[in-house]
Symmetry: C2
């Protein structure tokens, strides 16, 4: 059985990726600075800033899915050096460990935010990357280093530029969690800014599937956008939550850390990996609200919220011609 | 008199920038981790990784020219984390200090190498940036952060993407210094690779002029290429040196740290800043060879080698129409 190391396995997306890869039959080694919750049988503490830790962690692995890092845009905005250090220098250690331990596959979690303000839309993988926020700059640095870490007949790397992830276990400050918590508490939902800013919210289970497909792929492109097709404005999100859990909607000041909206295309991933987001936003939000009790309680009280009942499947790669 | 802080003033380019700005009548504060040679009256030791140091350094300044960092591609290749730390995290400190100390102008030394393999040529400032080498990735991270550090009615930033600099005081491992040293020692000049790889060698005095013009400019673009127009292959360089100091030319293995060649256009800088490289490569190399004795002796024995006799001047901005 193939052994796959997942860094950042205690984090929102990493937890799901580890869960999905394990469910698909892989031997998953979870790693993070803190223990993933709920406690798992196999877990290795590793500091990405320690090459020694990362070397130990990855010894004997067949692949690494690297999701560890500062994932919260606001934390990165407050401490850009922390973001640069963990996200870029940490990734340098992961690359170095893959090379020294002769691990043939590395899949890296980048973000659609590396593109910055769009020059054309939808944004494909050829779109220039010109982000301004330290979070996105730190991810871009890592993204570029991973892309260029390929070694012929040695290491093959794949960069997945993920859409705005949502789903069970999302951090409580995320817009969806915040809206649902307020609605359930009968407090008004506060939209920051006009509410016209949009996101292609991508269910974390669909993202997990992308990692599985990337690990299975042979050859393929160095970079894929992994972003659901639906564009949802924050106002639409508020209205959807408000319909499911009736409450009032109000407006607040806009947040400067928010990335400028961009429509992003994942056609390349559909064509080459057979990946497409299959959980509609409405479904995902309904599922989230159903499970929201455990989500919104303090961490210590939480029961694990599994993935939504409907698993991500993938489009038939043979339908390729219809999509180009 | 305006006070301008120059970081990296003990380095090759920073030394010349400080020299030129001072010659143009500015009050220059030189800063570096090590004392610039020869010892100058005013020098402040500052570690770019210490916000405290950079705050102290920049207090009361009217502008900062930020050239400090890991400038050697080979050092960055050997220690990518050092490059990321000093070049990106150090720049974050410079930006933060400019904001806190309310300094209105910041000019940053980036590099043409941020573009990576060219998608079209000549490469203008709109060309996508997709470098792979840790040196260029670290400079790109800083370049993007500086671009986005503008504050309306507060801080105005300018990024100068410099060509391959050469001239007096260049580090002894640089291709020109190495060729001249070997030729003078009657050893063969060794070309790494085919010799067809080209560079737009840009004289460090012309680069110094660009910093002066950028400081004087009001408004303008956020990013300028500062790259001489002439493309010179390494073979041409070897032949030129070999004609001036007769010696044999041989070939060696190519070096993986070398950036892929790209023709870069500085038309924007010519139009908006009135900048154009005025020192031809032949002139610059002849001047370098004349002064090479002091250049090529051990650091401790060196006498300062001043800028070449011909100062950089700049194109008449009113000739703008002819150039577009």
């Amino acid at each position: 059985m193939k052994r796959v190391v997942v860094t950042g396995a205690a984090g929102f997306i990493g937890w799901h990726v580890a869960h999905l890869l394990e469910a698909s039959g892989l031997d998953v080694v979870r790693s993070d600075l803190v223990r993933p919750q709920p406690a798992e049988d196999v877990w290795k503490k590793a500091d990405l800033l320690s090459l020694h830790d990362v070397m130990e962690l990855t010894r004997g692995a067949d692949a690494v899915c690297h999701l560890g890092g500062i994932g919260d845009v606001y934390t990165a905005g407050r401490d850009p050096q922390l973001a640069l250090n963990v996200n870029a220098c940490g990734t340098i250690n992961v690359i170095e460990a893959c090379k020294r331990n002769q691990i043939p596959r590395l899949v890296f979690a980048s973000t659609w935010e590396v593109y910055g303000t769009p020059r054309y839309q939808p944004v494909d993988e050829n779109h220039p990357c010109s982000p301004g926020h330290p979070y996105a700059v730190s991810k871009l640095a890592a993204d570029l280093l991973v892309q260029h870490a390929n070694i012929a007949d040695g290491l093959t790397t794949t960069v997945l530029r993920l859409g705005t992830a949502y789903g069970p276990r999302i951090r409580s400050t995320a817009v969806l969690a915040s809206f649902v918590r307020r609605a359930k508490a009968h407090e008004p939902i506060v939209i920051n800014g006009t509410g016209n800013q949009f996101r292609q919210f991508t269910h974390v289970t669909d993202i997990g599937t992308a990692f599985r497909l990337a690990l299975e792929a042979r050859g393929g492109s160095p970079v894929y956008n992994i972003v659901a097709e639906e564009s949802i404005t924050i106002k639409q999100l508020a209205e959807l939550v408000g319909r499911l859990v009736p409450t009032q909607i109000t407006f607040g000041p806009s947040r400067e850390d928010d990335a400028p909206p961009a429509r992003v295309s994942s056609l390349l991933a559909e064509r080459e990996l057979g990946w497409r987001a299959v959980i509609s936003f409405r479904e995902g939000v309904e599922d989230f609200i159903r499970n929201a009790k455990s989500e919104l309680s303090p961490i210590a009280d939480r029961k694990p919220a599994g993935p939504p009942s409907r698993q991500a499947t993938y489009a038939n790669p043979s339908a390729e011609g219809d999509l180009s």
